[in-house]
Amino acid sequence: MADNLNVEKEPLFSKKNIGLVKDPLVDNNPVTVQVLGICSALAITAELKASVIMALSVIFVLAAGNVLISLLRNLIPPSIRIIAQLVVVAALVIIVDLTLKAYVPDLAKKLSVFVGLIITNCIIMGRFEAFALGNGPWKSFLDGVGNAAGYGLILVIVGFFRELLGSGKLFGFPVFGDPVEKTGLYALGYENNGFMLLAPMALITLGLIIGFQRSRNKSLIETN
């Protein structure tokens, strides 16, 4: 699509570049395939809104961080690169944290330490090491957006199911009717499964998503 628009000039959206964004969404998803970045994420997926905010924060941090690291890649001495990377991420995360505290204070409180934990999110360091240190800024940007979006996609899926089944809401709006007044589905005897809101169900939901993905794409199946 964008391929045709840019074909005369530099192919900014060449097939390879689009692949950088598209591959990590499903086939090479950072969470379900590369096993990166599960740490800071699952605890906040009890609500869809928190998941979306978290996904957006990670997209910002990873895209900007990838570009910065890619620009600095020839200046950073290899022996101290981990600390240099951590400083770049920490600075970006402070920006995100202060922005969230300013504009969505109640949500920022709910996310509590998990915004700070974006710093040690393995996706960030993993992509810095694997991609940004060896590629130009534009490609790094696309790679960052793609990987963070793949991560965000999983967060949003988990958040969707947990909020829908756990409290019968999406983004805080009741979907199945009112559980107190017994309208909608609740009139037929439907009950919310409060267990979905507890921590263990996030893990089990993610396990089921991984199983589903592998049943569609057999090449991902591991040997035990």
Partner: protein, 249 residues
């Protein structure tokens, strides 16, 4: 007594892996064999015991609003808490590097057994998470912070040891192909987390035991709900909400 309570609480009830999902990456990557799992677990305890008290001091004397009073009255207004992340992660990274050098010099055997896990720990969420939770919990003394660090490290160690043992055994079971490896590990961790939730009722003493209250309340709410579906589904919902909150906190 309070210290013991804090210690047990940080191991079992607020377990890093099962209640807050911290350090999941290395937990999943390094738990294929018990021997490596033990190595990483030991390294996490080690670093946690060092960094949590250190970050406690940083927080108390530099970061908190008004923490700089010891420099003089004119600094009492300063609030450097926005620097928390960068200072904490710098502490963690330098401490890991330092610990690595010290261990290499004075205990080569331990160094060899920990191997590549020590440098990996700098980016383990459990370490930074421990420090951030420590800041959030607002401990009164450095002893409490140290005990919390030790407890959360041991909790992480137990979790990775348990999953390592299960994964070694599960190789002989017939897992459905799509769940082999990662999928099954997640589901197992979820089941273990459900098991660990039962520790929520363990600490009944202490001055404030909100856990006990919540756990007691959920059970009657559930039974009532079966008898009478009219009013208490909201009660159940608010209770599960508060339970989730306490679990996450």
């Amino acid at each position: 007594m309070e210290l013991l309570e804090l210690f047990l609480k940080s191991i079992f009830i607020e377990n890093m892996i099962f209640a807050t999902f911290l350090g999941m990456c290395s937990y999943l990557a390094v738990s294929k064999k018990v021997s490596t799992a033990v190595g990483l677990g030991a390294a996490v305890i080690f670093v946690q015991v060092i960094t949590v008290p250190l970050n406690y001091l940083l927080d108390k004397y530099i970061l908190r609003p008004g923490a700089l009073t010891w420099l003089g009255e004119e600094y009492a207004e300063y609030d450097l808490s926005f620097l928390t992340f960068i200072l904490f992660i710098a502490t963690v990274a330098t401490m890991v590097q330092l610990v690595e050098m010290v261990v290499e010099k004075f205990a080569p055997a331990l160094y060899n057994s920990l191997g590549i896990f020590l440098p990996l720990i700098a980016v383990n969420c459990a370490i930074l998470g421990g420090s951030l939770f420590m800041q959030q919990k607002d401990f009164a003394t450095i002893t409490e912070a140290t005990v919390y660090g030790l407890g959360s490290g041991i909790g992480w160690f137990l979790a990775i040891l348990a999953i390592g043992a299960i994964r070694e055994k599960i190789r002989y079971s017939n897992v459905p192909p799509v769940f082999r490896g990662l999928g099954m590990t997640f589901i197992l961790t979820g089941l273990m987390a459900i098991g660990f939730m039962s520790f929520g009722g363990m600490l009944t003493g202490g001055s404030d035991a909100p856990k006990k209250e919540v756990v007691e309340n959920v059970a009657p709410a559930v039974t009532e709900e079966v008898n009478e579906v009219a009013t208490d589904s909201t009660a159940l919902e608010t209770k599960t909400d508060s339970l989730t909150q306490t679990v996450q906190e």
